[in-house]
Structure formats: C-alpha cells, structure tokens
C-alpha cells in the first residue's frame, strides 16, 4: 500500500530536477550556518539561530513539496485564478494585519516566524498568467488556426496579460514598499516573449535600459547627437523611403524621450535607490564607508576568496559581519569567500542548470498551460539569480531579493519550492493530458 502510494506520488517525476533542488537547499543551509556561525552557538539545531530556524523551514518545504506531488495536477489549472485572487487580497490585507519590519508592512508574524505573502504572489501570478494565456490560445485552437501571435495583436488580450503581471507589482511596490519583491514580476515579460510577443518590445526595453545608463554617465546633448548620427547612418543600409523614415523617426523620438526623461526619473527615485545607482555606475563621489559600504564589502569578501576560497567557516569577512544581510540577500558573499572561484562557479552553474532543465521540461509539455507555467518558473528563477549575484559582484544595483533556495528565509524558500514543485507535478502528469 505504502509502496503503491510512493509509486503514485513519484510517478513520472523528474528526479534530476529534485536532486539539483535538494543540493542547492543543502548548500544554502551550509552557507547560512557559516554566515551566522559563532563559537557560542554551535548546535545546528539551535532554533534561536538562523541556521536552526532554516532547518525548520526546510522541513516545512519538504512537507509542502510532498503535498504538491500528492495533489491532483488538474487542481492547479482549475484554481489558478482562485490562488491569484487569494494572494492579491492577502497582499492588501497585510498592510493592516501585518507587523511592521524596517518601515514596511509586508509580514504576517507567528511568534518567532514570519511569512511574507508577496513571496507567494509569484507562483499565484504564474498560475494565473499561464491559465489566461492558455485559454486565449484555446479559442484560437478550436478554429484550427495556430496563430499564436493573435493574443498580442488583440489589445484586450495584451491588456489583460499585462494587468496580471503589473497588479501584484504595483500592490507590492506601492502598498508594501518592497521594491525587491515587486520588481521580480518584470521577469514574466520573458514568458510573454516566448508566447509570441513582438520582439521589438523586448529590444526597445533593453535599449531603454542602455540609454538610461548612458544618459546618466555621459552628457545628454552629445548622446542625443550621437543617436541622431546613428539614426541617419541607418539609411546607408535601408531603402530611403517614406515608411522607413517614419519608423526611424518614431524610434528616435522614443529614444530621445528616454534620454531626456532619465534625469526626471532619476531625481524622483528614493534617495537610497539613487545612491545604489550611483554606486553601480561609479557616479559622483561614492563614500566606501557609507553608501558604497555594502557593495564594497561584498566585493572584498568575494574577491578575497581567491581560486579555492579560505575554507569552510574560515572566512574573516563573513565571520565578523562586515557584509550586512549576509545570510539573506548577500549569502553569495559567503560562498565567494569560503569556497572561492570554484565554489561560486559551481553555484552559478547549478542554478543555471536547474533553470535550463526547467526550460527543457517546459518545451516537452503537451499542455500549453504547463509550458507557459514552466517558462514562468524559469524566468522568475533566472531573474533572482541574475539580480542577486549581479549586485554582490557590482554588476547590478542593490535590490533586496534572495538567491533561490540559498538565502535564509522561510517565505522565499517555501515560495520557490511551491513554484518549482507545481511544475514538477505538472510535468509528471504531462502524459495524462492529451490536449
């Protein structure tokens, strides 16, 4: 009987994904232990310490993962909007019912433990978006016309798709003031791209980021002149007709708008965010004892690791709390210092491998819902990986988001576990769906 259940639960489950997941969680815990380690509290089960608490969170995550595998896979698609609505409401209610931590109310507290509903918004949004995009699709399918692009030609569909992504972003940013948790939802743009969104939107988005950065570090006037020169020189390669003139002019105006709007946006950022951008770009005078402290200390910790690192529990930077938030957002510093270049590379490749594996699994789905959901998982994980490690090595501005499966914190571990295991379950039951 027990054997049967086990067989049923693990039937078709992608073991490789689960092994990488378990490996990452275990390595994460080892590094949390190192980050908070001190001689007075060596007992790994000490729940007054973060590594002790993390063990409890890991236990909870295992139970969650198991439960998800037990539950029938059709439930996730059926209740996709229900989950979404539930967590949207939870994210609004937390402002009144939550406990204030560091000035923002985004935590529900239960004794020593806290839960951040914004973390769970990720999988709920992913479910709802997958459901929405796949139902749009079905309408097209019944007419035997595989014109995927149609959703994105139809403004209403486009509007809904963006509304699903932007609503949680706005709620979490504006009401809870959690920039890091909010900005993650941008990752779903990758899903839209996979599902047929015009590549121009993505390219222009990237271009806008590049222009924003350029406008901050070089003179605005010369930048505009340079852009004009580039625009005009385009006509050396394309036919000089009216249509091309209009589209080039339009793109130029949009680009100029970004360049000219940069200062306005920059000046309306919150001071600490402005400082983080300054630190990243090396603008103005950055005081390494003050605003540049985090990033500089993070770089020192990682840089001092060398090829093989200083050895487990031997990191001086880690041990003496030079890097703030070392167990959560800056956990990668511990890896860099104690395990060196080899260890850091292993972590990056493991995370990357997990993401690529998810994409591989997503592509083999028969159901559109499962595929779209899979891409959502990959995008969210990638976004966290890129921003989190990017900020510790000085390639991204400091945004407080965790490293998936690694950082201390119950909400983030649970949310990533749910996110991933729903996909594992969908994948496991892919053969049962004939759509």
């Amino acid at each position: 009987m027990a054997r049967n259940l086990e067989n049923k639960v693990f039937f078709g489950v992608d073991r490789l994904t689960i092994i990488i997941y378990a490996l990452l969680v275990f390595m994460g815990w080892l590094n949390i232990y190192a980050a908070v380690y001190n001689e007075d509290h060596q007992n790994i089960l000490d729940t007054s310490q973060k590594y002790g608490k993390q063990l409890i969170w890991i236990g909870g995550a295992a139970i969650l993962a198991f439960s998800i595998l037990v539950i029938d896979s059709s439930l996730y698609s059926a209740f996709a909007y229900g989950f979404y609505a539930f967590f949207i409401i939870a994210n609004i209610l937390v402002i009144w019912l939550g406990r204030e931590v560091k000035g923002s109310r985004s935590w529900f507290r239960f004794g020593d433990f806290g839960i951040q509903p914004a973390e769970f918004m990720k999988f709920a949004t992913n479910l709802a978006l997958a459901k929405f995009l796949s139902t749009q699709q079905r309408v097209v399918n019944t007419q035997f016309r595989l014109k995927w692009k149609d959703i994105f030609k139809n403004y209403k569909g486009m509007f809904y798709a963006f509304a699903f992504i932007l609503s949680p972003l706005v709620i979490i940013k504006v009401l809870q003031d959690e920039t890091g948790l909010a900005i993650v939802f941008v990752a779903f743009i990758i899903v839209l791209y996979r599902e047929g969104m015009n590549v121009g939107v993505l390219i222009f988005g990237l271009l806008a980021v590049v222009l924003f950065v350029l406008a901050l570090i070089v003179n605005v006037t010369s930048l505009l002149i340079a852009l004009a020169v580039i625009a005009l020189s385009l006509f050396l390669f394309v036919p000089r007709n009216k249509r091309n003139f209009i589209s080039v002019a339009l793109v130029y105006v949009l680009a100029a708008g970004v360049v000219l709007g940069t200062n306005y946006v920059y000046n309306h950022l919150e001071p600490h965010q402005r400082v983080r951008i300054d630190v990243l770009l090396g603008r103005g005078e950055v005081d390494m004892k003050k605003e540049g402290y985090n990033v500089n200390q993070a770089k020192i910790a990682i840089g001092s690791g060398g090829l093989l690192g200083k050895g487990y529990l031997q990191g001086t930077q880690t041990k003496y709390d030079f890097v703030p938030e070392q167990d959560t957002d800056f956990i990668f510093c511990t890896v860099g210092e104690e395990w060196g270049f080899v260890g850091s590379t292993v972590v990056i490749f493991l995370e990357l491998f997990l993401i690529l594996r998810v994409i591989f699994l997503a592509e083999r789905q028969r159901s559109n819902f499962s595929r779209i959901y899979g891409y959502g998982v990959a995008s969210v994980l990638f976004f966290h990986l890129a921003v989190n490690i990017g900020m510790t090595i000085g390639l991204m501005p400091v945004i407080g988001i965790p490293l998936p499966f690694f950082s201390y914190g119950g909400s983030s571990l649970w949310s990533f576990t749910i996110l991933l295991f729903i996909f594992i379950k969908l994948d496991a039951s892919r053969l049962l769906i004939f759509r």
């Binding site: 860099g336 060196g340 590379t345 490749f349 990638f382 090595i393």
Partner: protein, 617 residues
C-alpha cells in the same frame, strides 16, 4: 508565426540565460583571481577601533587658581563573545564580585542594545589600585581590557552650582548627536553644560589589526590613521575663588544666594547658592547616586541654584528703580517730599511705614520710606500723557525691564529664570479691564505685589546704578582656550531707560547715607565709601526674606553684591553683614571685623538654632 517558429525562441531565451551566467563567471574570475586589490582590503578589514577619550578642559579662576581639574579613572570593558577561557574566578576576586554577579553582567552586556560582539562597560570607574592589579593579570582575562578615562576633581569644594557636574549622556541626546555614544560623559549643568563643546575636547581612535581569532596583532599602518584624543580647551572663569569660598562660608547657615559682579565688565566674581554641597561627591558612580538620593530629599534644596533660579520679591531694594524712573519721568526731583503718616495716606496708611522725619529723595532711600515710593509709583503711572492707566503702567514696566527684571539676561549659565514683572494683561485678567489703577497695585512701588527677581538680576540692577546707566551681561567665563576667546555679546554695553548722571548721583547719595547714617550703619566697611540698600521682602509663605545690595567704592566701583537670605527678617541683620564682609574681603584682602564674621558663620537659620544660645554665652 506558428508554434514551431515560436519554439525557436527557446534557444534565444536559453542562450541569453547562459550568456548572463558566463558574464558573471568572467566577472568572478576577475574579482577573485585577477584583481589583487580585494585581498589586500580583506586583510585591512579586520580592524578593531578603540576610542581614546579626551580629558575635559581645566577651569581656572580669575587669578589662575585651579577650580576644576581631572583625575584618571579606569573602566573595565568586555566583549562577551571573546571571554571564552577567561579566568573568571580570579577576575571576580579582584573586583570583589560573586560569580552570579559576573554572569549577570555578561548577560547584560550580551543583550540588546548591547551585543556579544560589541564593547560594553563591565565595571565603571575603578581605582588606580584595582586597575593596576587587573592589568598585571590581563593575559588571563580573555575578552576584557582596561580603558582609561578622566574624571573631574575639585581641589576646593566650592562653587558647585556654578561649575555644574558631568554625567552620562542621555539616550535621547546620544541618539540625536553623532558625537556621543551611549555611556559617554557630557556636562549636565552649570559651566560644564554651557561650555560643553569647548570642554569636551575631541575623541581619538586607535586602529588595531586583529587576526581570525580576533587577537590584536599590531597597529594598522603603524598608527598612520590613528588619531590622538585632544584635551578640551581650558576655561578662564571670572570667579575669585577666595571670595567664592568666603561667601560660601558666610552663607553656610542660611538658605539664600549671593551674587557679586564687577560692574565695569559684568564679570561674576562670586555666585553663592546656599545651602551648597561639595562638587566632588557628584563625580563618580556609586557615590553620586548616594549623594543625589540624599540631596533630593533634603527640604533645604541643596541642588537648587538659588542665584539663578529662585525668584524672590525684591522688597525695598526695588525703591532704587522707583527713584531713578521717577526722576527720569520728571515727577520727582532731589528736593521732593511726600507725606508719610506711618504709612501711605491715600490708602489709609497702607503700605505701612516706620517712624522717621520728613525726607527728600536721598533721605527716602536711606530711610526706605514706603509712603514715599508709593507716591512715586502713583505719579509715574498716573501721568496725564498716557490716555489709559494701562499705558502708563506698561511704560513703567518697560522702564523696569530695561534694567533686566522680567527678562533673561543672556548669561552664559544654563537654566536661569526670568523673574516676573507682571504685565498689564495680567492685571486686566485679575481685576477686569478697567478694574485697576495705581492704588490697587501700589505696593509694586516698594517691590512687593507679584514682582519677582532672581538674585542675579538684583546684582545687575546695582551694577547698572554703579555704572550710572548701563550694564554688561553678567557672565562667568572670560576666556575659552589658550587664546582666551570670549563671546562678543559680553563686551557690549547695554543702556537702560534712565541715562542722566545726576539722577544716579541723587540715588547713590541716598545709598551712601544708608551706610553713613541709615539702615546699614552698623555694617560700615572701615576706610571704604560703600553705597547700599536694605530690603525686607514680605513673603506670603513665611517669615520675610532679608535682602541687601551694595557697591563699593563709591568712586570707581570695583564690586557689586546682592545678597538674599530666606526667612531672615530685616535685611540689615543677616544680609547686610554678608555683603559688607565680602566687600571688605575683596577690596582689602582681609577682614578686620572678626566678631561679625564669627557671628555670621556660627548662625544656623536652616535648622532654626539661635546664634547666641550656643557659641556666644
């Protein structure tokens, strides 16, 4: 575009992910292997910052004698997480504490707002002997070290109120002001408070390098970045410590205050508030707590600085202002005479007066005629040029306030009180808008009613009279630092409402008569022409306060003194002798009237003992 074409996008997405990962790995290669800078930085990171506390500035009196100096004191500092392997038993032995107490303190140092990784004070202000004993065995006390600080020391136990005291900074202050950390010392009252910024000096820091086990292995960059603590600036006080000490001895048995000023500069020569205490008892921890507890309960309020904060009715001494303002307004002149029938006739003989001959202006000062100054007050405020009585009254009030009463003088000592010269609005409230006139409040003319002055203001009034029309803001510091900087507001003359020298001469004549033939006849200072005025301030709470103010010598005045003795009856009995003895001491350097001195020093009005019953049989 169909599904197969879109399927190609997986390669773009996957490729993009791989590309970003590769960029990061390259960056890590650069940071961790190519660039050596961060490895250097990591070594430098393991600093330990040790604060070097500066000694506070010394305070000298006007003749260069030390009023306040410093004495070394030692604090034992602990970093709880480094105490593993500490020889607890012998540490407890040296400090004479129990093991339980030791654990309690370690726990306190480990908990918020302290932290096991941060330095906390384990034992405060140890003696040099204990510190030396600990230092010898320091290698056995892991996680502990000794920090030297300096504490205040007062060679002469005088001027406690004026000098103020130093104590631990409040949590609010240390949160607001980045200079202070919790546990730092700060001036709490007196000069220590108002000149805190000059006295405190500048903290220094010593940067030590530590290894992985947090042991100090040397100084960082051979101390290149260390900063030495800079001692606070010395202060040069205007006090004459001998006069101050003498004044405190005289006032020992009284409650009250004495303020002595140098009229030509506004410098405070002595400021006595009695009863006082030995400032040395408020210097350090346990002793301070005990002393505070005792003094808080003392009904004679030894912690209260009466010279600046106690507001008293000035009584008859206020008549000097009446005489000056009356002449200025043209309502009286030197020859003016007013009726006196053992009191003020228009009000049926109130305020009362004693028997005396008819007097002109100087005579009225010398005999202190109540009726005379009731008339003067009425004449000033009832002048025809003012349409409403309140306007006349307000004019009188402004004239009075130009001498200082009712205002903060702007002295360099904290917490001074302004006193009170009631406003017209106040009387409108009490009596209703037209419900009062000169007769209602006529006792203002003789320094009673709701009129209140602090002793410093009384002294300032006499200084203005001695200067014949102006004063300098009374202050107690005449130089900050070696260069002797002083706030330039103390160098400015403040001119009062009455300016004609003749008016002052008329009043001063009366004040001289006060010594020559009047109420202070028995307090003449041999060989010195002094001018004074007695007062008996009626006090609704008990026996009248004795007031006396004087300056000397008449030509080229060198000292001005105002003295108030609480519940002592007539001014001439207790207050005048104190003033006269202090003037003699200051001007001649010695006191010839030893019998008078002994009488005053033996008196104890605080505990109600009669002077003659004990020492003088």
């Amino acid at each position: 575009m169909n599904q197969t074409q879109l399927g190609n996008r997986k390669f773009i997405i996957g490729g993009f992910f791989c590309f970003v990962a590769l960029v990061y790995v390259c960056r890590l290669f650069y940071l961790q292997i190519v660039d050596e800078r961060y490895k250097m930085d990591a070594q430098n990171n393991t600093f330990r910052y040790q604060t070097q506390y500066p000694a506070r500035g010394y305070i000298y009196d006007r003749n260069g004698k030390i009023l306040v100096q410093n004495e070394a004191s030692y604090d034992l500092i602990v970093i709880p997480r480094e105490t593993k392997g500490c020889d607890t038993a012998s540490l407890c032995d040296v400090l004479e504490i129990s093991k339980k107490e030791y654990l309690k303190r370690i726990k306190k140092a480990s908990q918020y707002p302290n932290s096991p990784r941060k330095q906390s004070v384990f034992e405060k202000q140890m003696s040099a002997k204990t510190a030396a004993e600990l230092q010898e065995k320091m290698y056995r006390f892991k996680g502990f070290f000794i920090q030297k600080r300096s504490l205040r020391k007062y060679p002469k136990p005088v001027a406690a109120h004026l000098l103020g005291y130093v104590g631990e900074v409040s949590k609010e202050k240390s949160a607001k002001d980045a200079y202070y950390k919790e546990g730092d010392y700060i001036g709490i009252s007196g000069i220590e408070r108002s000149y805190e910024n000059a006295l405190r000096g500048k903290k220094g820091v010593q940067i030590a390098l530590t290894d992985v086990h947090n042991k100090i292995v040397g100084s960082y960059m051979n101390g290149e970045y260390d900063t030495a603590a800079i001692q606070g600036k010395p202060l040069y006080c205007t006090i004459d410590v001998d006069l101050q000490e003498y004044g405190e001895k005289l006032m020992k048995g009284f409650k009250g205050a004495v303020v002595a000023l140098e009229p030509t500069t506004g410098e405070i020569l002595a400021m006595v508030s009695a009863p006082s205490y030995d400032p040395n008892v408020l210097v350090s921890g346990k002793q301070r707590n005990r002393a505070f507890a005792k003094m808080y309960q003392d009904s004679s309020l030894p912690l209260f600085n009466r010279a600046l904060q106690a507001m008293y009715p000035p009584g008859s001494t206020f008549k000097l202002l009446g005489a000056l303002i009356g002449q200025h307004e043209g309502v009286i002149h030197r020859g003016s005479v007013f009726p006196c029938a053992h009191g003020f006739p228009p009000m049926g003989g109130k305020p009362k007066c004693h028997s005396h001959a008819a007097v002109n202006l100087p005579g009225s000062v010398a005999t202190s005629c109540n009726s005379y100054y009731s008339y003067v007050f009425r004449e000033i405020t009832d002048q025809k040029k003012f349409p409403r009585y309140a306007d006349g009254y307000s004019h009188w009030r402004n004239m009075v306030m130009s001498f200082g009463p009712g205002t903060h003088l702007g002295t360099d000592l904290p917490y001074d009180k302004p006193g009170n010269v009631p406003s017209a609005d106040y009387y409108n409230k009490v009596y209703g808008v037209n419900g009062w006139k000169s007769n209602t409040i006529v006792s203002l003319g003789i320094g009673q009613e709701a009129l209140l002055l602090v002793p410093l203001q009384m002294a300032n009034v006499v200084a203005t009279i001695a200067n014949k029309g102006f004063y300098y803001i009374p202050h107690c510091i005449k130089g900050v630092g070696k260069q002797g900087e002083v706030d330039k507001k103390f160098k400015e003359k403040h001119f009062v409402g009455v300016q004609k020298e003749e008016y002052y001469e008329n009043v001063i004549d009366g004040m001289q008569m006060c010594f020559d033939s009047g109420t202070a006849y028995w307090e003449r200072v041999p060989g010195i022409v002094a001018c004074g005025k007695t007062g008996t301030a009626e006090n609704p709470h008990g026996k009248s306060h004795a007031v006396f103010m004087a300056f000397a010598p008449r030509d080229n005045p060198k000292i001005v003194i105002a003295c108030l003795v609480e519940n002592a009856g007539w001014g001439s009995v207790w207050a005048a002798p104190v003033v006269s003895l202090m003037m003699e001491k200051y001007l001649t350097g010695k006191v010839t009237r030893t019998w008078e001195e002994q009488r005053i020093m033996a008196a104890d009005l605080i505990h109600g003992k009669n002077l003659l019953s004990t020492e003088f049989h």
